[in-house]
């Protein structure tokens, strides 16, 4: 009869706490919690709780990964005061949030992209749409070249030296826009416009030359529908892909052209989650709460933070799609 040692080539470790980076297939006994645990891949998508951010906020930007993310900007509409833009920024390491250097210009619904240490804050709103851009270096923000067309709720993707913002809402014209601009780290250049005016906000990702955008709001001065569109950019042209299954806006999302997620949103408020596999969207495990929020990550490992459900919240949750790795407790009876 084969045993674990014979099959896996290792003994079951006897540890006081879970190992920091277990391998898929690794088994260990946590004697502190008296539990046998295994690292395995998820057969179904799951949402799990993450540490709450220090302040309840909506309209925040969030980029990076589950273990190295940054959230910045946002708004605190506290009654009876009007909406107040904030410049706070917080780093997340997978378990805790730490305040870091503040944005030079407080604003909300920023187009976000980059990593935890190379994030970019493009455009956004402080009542009206603004053109400000700031680069993050891991501790402080520095003003950079302004976006050509002011917008908030625009999609953002790419890196600090090869970024892109797409669509958004121009408050002065009271309409969603099609304008797209690419970023080289210091200045912006207009490129091929979106086929359809959309706000996109939050729901975008990938590199500058393989960007995916989805959902949002197609409204003009007299209103308009929420969007089910999915469109990708290859550096020169936009291609319309298969639609989302559900109509909503203010959703969280992120990912690439081969793996993206889309969760929550409003009108009406929903907890539905969809997963994109590179070809089509499918309904997946619902969020724990019906939220509008900010999101980051990929279709396999993502995270939402803040938002409203319907009052402002500081809560955060991890999204782990099918095939992602997770630690489970082995139960015997």
């Amino acid at each position: 009869m084969s045993d674990y040692y014979g099959t896996y080539g290792q003994k079951v470790q006897y540890l006081s706490s879970d190992p920091p980076a277990p391998q898929t297939g690794q088994v260990w006994y946590n004697y502190t919690s008296a539990t046998l645990k295994v690292r395995s891949t998820n057969a179904t998508a799951v949402w799990t709780s993450a540490a709450s951010i220090p302040m309840a906020i909506s309209g925040m930007a969030f980029t990076g990964t589950q273990t190295a993310g940054i959230a910045y900007g946002g708004a605190t509409p506290a009654s009876p005061s009007p909406t107040t833009a904030v410049n706070n920024a917080y780093l997340h390491n997978g378990s805790t949030w730490t305040a870091t250097g503040s944005l030079g210009t407080a604003r909300y619904t920023i187009s976000r992209f980059g990593t935890q240490t190379t994030a970019v804050a493009g455009s956004g709103a402080v009542g009206g749409s603004v053109t400000n851009t700031e680069n993050f270096n891991g501790s402080t923000w520095t003003a950079s070249g302004n976006v050509g067309t002011a917008r908030d709720q625009g999609g953002g993707a790419g890196t600090q030296t090869a970024g892109i913002i797409a669509g958004g809402f121009n408050q002065a014209a009271n309409t969603a826009i099609t304008n797209v601009e690419i970023y080289n780290g210091s200045s912006w250049t207009a490129t091929t416009s979106l086929p359809t005016r959309r706000t996109i906000y939050n729901c975008s990702g990938g590199p500058q030359t393989a960007t995916i955008t989805y959902g949002g709001y197609e409204g003009g001065p007299t209103g308009g529908p929420n969007s089910v569109l999915t469109q990708s950019f290859n550096g020169s042209t936009w291609t319309t892909l298969n639609n989302l299954n559900t109509v909503r806006r203010g959703s969280a999302g992120s990912g690439t052209t081969s793996s993206a997620w889309y969760a929550g949103g409003s009108t009406p408020s929903t907890s539905e989650t969809e997963y994109y596999n590179g070809t089509s969207w499918a309904i997946s495990t619902a969020m724990p709460t019906a939220w509008t929020s900010a999101g980051t990550g990929t279709g396999i490992n993502g995270q939402i933070v803040g938002g409203a459900n319907p009052s402002l919240t500081a809560q955060s949750f991890f999204w782990n799609g099918v095939g992602s790795a997770g630690t489970r407790t082995v139960t015997v009876s």
């Binding site: 709780s49 909506s58 407790t329």
Partner: protein, 98 residues
């Protein structure tokens, strides 16, 4: 499906784990209210883990109604021009628990 309700504060990592999420559906509502399946042993164990305080459906609905009413009052107090701001969303609507 029949549900049960409890109030518990989400403390972050470990409040809802992969084990929990894989075994049963947890749905959150305003007021730190959580909905779980009524016939799940794992869900009952989770409520114990998070020190949840059980609520009847009527009590749970009252908690949600109060939170929604509070959010509606906040929204109604906003200046008119801010009600159209996307950050402020739409006016919160009633939530009816299943």
């Amino acid at each position: 499906m029949a549900y049960k309700y409890c109030v518990a504060e989400n403390w972050g990592v470990g409040f809802i784990t992969i084990d929990d999420s894989s075994k049963f559906q947890i749905s959150g509502f305003p007021g730190n209210l959580w909905q779980i399946p009524a016939d799940s042993r794992d869900a009952n164990l989770w409520v114990s883990k998070v020190a949840g305080i059980w609520k009847t459906k009527e009590e749970a609905q009252a908690i949600v109604d109060a939170e929604v009413a509070k959010a509606q009052a906040e929204w109604d107090a906003l200046p008119e021009q801010q009600k159209n701001n996307p950050v402020n969303r739409q006016r919160p609507t009633a939530i009816v628990l299943e």
